[in-house]
């Protein structure tokens, strides 16, 4: 009986989990650019995610329209990415450390944007937001037309972003960014300004991360100073889950981005499942997520190691 109740709760929470997964998927796509394409571990995201939410909330509170607020959120994320890029390429600070410095500094910036308070509301009742958790119910009850459904709105949003990125990474500039991440020696030998490309990639990535933050703040009805904490782990989880699940099927660049988005959805469904079916206290989830991601990051390395041993053994035999 208890379990059935839980199952019922899970099924009811499913649309919300998918919507939230889609929102985080956009942030994971941003992370994909730095982590996968540029091979930089960019921890800026934990800060720039909140920057996006905070800027969006502040702009909308000040009476600006939601599109403009989201544009500003995107630009503020780009600015954060630029700072990390500058610290890394010009000040020669290792990328991971540079991004930690930016992230730390952003905490103060984010507080300042929210008027030195740790939360700032963007309630759907007062604002013309793009997405909101309450829309789930309102659409289900017929109070709002179907196209207000968060899964639809964010899904469409993601599709447009994936389309634009697919185009961009097929251009001369986009290809040169991919080359920068794939082999920096080759890129320079081919006349590519690798430092510039790294900064550009970091800006683009954090712009998307902030955009995702602005959507989450709207969805949840407020920006919150800790909303980005652990974002990088969620993003990595989405990337890895997407790769493990769809990697064999999705080779094309656009499809790889779709896989990231789907990975984020799967992640949120699993989390929701653990919370509602097994009744785990939500406070345990961070430890749980960290452990899951650690395992997922380990497995491919173990497989690689095995393959290498096999090859070496073969070589010894052949010798």
């Amino acid at each position: 009986m208890d379990f059935l109740d839980n199952l019922n709760g899970f099924v009811n929470a499913l649309p919300g989990a998918v919507a939230e997964g889609l929102i985080w998927g956009i942030m994971a796509i941003g992370l994909f650019i730095t982590y996968k394409l540029l091979e930089i571990s960019d921890l800026t995201v934990d800060g720039s995610f909140c920057t996006g939410g905070a800027v969006c909330a502040a702009m909308m509170t000040a009476g600006f329209n939601v599109w403009f607020a989201m544009l500003m959120a995107f630009l503020s994320g780009m600015a954060a990415g630029w700072v990390t890029g500058f610290l890394h390429t010009k000040c020669k600070i290792p990328a991971i450390l540079a991004s930690i410095l930016t992230q730390l500094g952003l905490w103060t910036v984010n507080m300042a944007v929210m008027g030195m308070r740790s939360t700032m509301a963007i309630l759907a009742v007062n604002n013309d937001v793009m997405v909101a958790m309450v829309f789930l119910e309102e659409v289900a009850l017929g109070m709002k037309p179907f196209f207000y459904h968060p899964i639809l709105t964010v899904g469409l949003f993601s599709a447009v972003i994936i389309g634009l990125l697919y185009w961009f990474f097929g251009t001369e500039r986009g290809a040169s960014i991919r080359a920068t991440g794939a082999n920096v020696h080759m890129a320079r030998a081919q006349g590519i300004n690798t430092d510039f490309n790294k900064v550009l990639g970091l800006m683009l990535a954090n712009g998307l991360v902030a955009l995702s933050g602005s959507l989450l703040a709207q969805y949840k009805g407020s920006a919150e100073i800790n909303m980005g904490r652990g974002a990088i782990v969620i993003g990595l989880a989405a990337i890895i889950i997407g790769e493990v699940t769809f990697g064999k099927l999705f080779k094309n660049f656009a499809l790889r981005l779709v896989a990231v988005s789907l990975g984020a959805i799967i992640y949120y469904i699993v989390i929701q499942m653990v919370i509602s079916l097994i009744d785990v206290d939500a406070q345990y989830m961070k430890l749980f997520s960290a452990a899951v991601v650690a395992v997922f990051l380990t497995v491919p390395n173990l497989q690689k190691g095995k393959a290498r041993h096999k090859k070496e053994r073969k070589e010894v035999q052949n010798a």
């Binding site: 082999n183 080759m186 006349g191």
Partner: protein, 264 residues
């Protein structure tokens, strides 16, 4: 075409690992010179090529390519003038990108990277023709990831990439050393074909004295960070390994090093 004058480079200056890798290096290449470079381990051959390519700035001296002083230019800007193939087959290509994508990146060497398409249909046709010349069957695998290719195939591809946009200067740093003898010979032949057909000014480092003698119109030997032997023209054509060793012991003032040279 290339003029190095009074070039000095010290690594780890002021530490116990201090190493003067280039000592008052002077070298002038005429347009169309195909120069083979030999010398023992640590003689400064790679350092010379890297200094020309701009991998690091030199401490003193000037580097002119086609009359232009490039000493202060960063590596990616000098790339406009220079084609390069490295010793390590992994270095010259992007493993996770397709063969045609690698070629398209190389075709845009020295040009601004715009928001135009990264590769066009016309280019694909052109690359297919060029890949045929390598005779490795790569023209039928243009969308394969370069990481799937063998070392020899990757070096041949890198060579093609280095010359797709005709460079003022081609730098080859033991580009066949990591290959098996048969593949090495093939890549070397392709090198000769490409260099001669476009009359490229070339510096080619090799550890194989026979190759150094057989290829090119000029041979230099480096020792202790500068050029100690410089043979060209008829003298180069008549060169033998014995004569080369002879020249070396004269230049370095000792013949015990010549053993080291052969062994290395």
């Amino acid at each position: 075409m290339l003029e190095l004058s009074h070039v000095w480079k010290t690594f780890n200056a002021g530490t116990v690992n201090e190493k003067v890798a280039l000592q008052n290096l002077n070298l002038k290449l005429e347009p169309g010179d195909f120069v083979t470079v030999i010398g023992g381990n640590g003689a400064g051959k790679s350092t010379m090529l890297n200094a020309v390519a701009g991998v690091f700035p030199v401490d003193e001296g000037s580097i002119l390519i086609d009359g232009q002083d490039v000493s202060a230019l960063p590596e990616y800007k000098r790339a406009k003038l220079i084609g390069r193939v490295f010793q390590d087959p992994m270095m010259g290509t992007a493993a996770t990108m397709q063969i045609e994508e690698n070629l398209a990146l190389a075709a845009r060497r020295g040009k601004p990277r715009t928001l135009r398409s990264g590769i066009t249909a016309a280019e694909r046709a052109e690359y297919r023709e060029k890949l045929k010349i390598l005779d490795l069957g790569l023209e039928d695998r243009m969308t394969s990831k370069v990481g799937l290719l063998s070392g020899g195939q990757r070096q041949a591809l890198t060579l093609l990439m280095a010359t797709l946009q005709q460079p003022k200067l081609l730098l080859l740093d033991e580009h066949t050393a990591a290959l098996d003898p048969k593949t090495a010979a093939k890549v070397l032949e392709a090198t000769k074909k490409i260099v001669e057909s476009s009359n490229l000014t070339t510096l080619m480092i090799t550890h194989n004295m026979r190759d150094a003698i057989a290829y090119g119109n000029r041979l230099i030997m480096m020792y202790d960070g500068h050029v100690v032997v410089d043979v060209r023209g008829e003298e180069k054509k008549a060169l033998t390994v014995e004569r080369l060793l002879d020249l070396f012991s004269q230049a370095s003032g000792s013949d015990e090093v010549s053993d080291k040279l052969i062994l290395s």
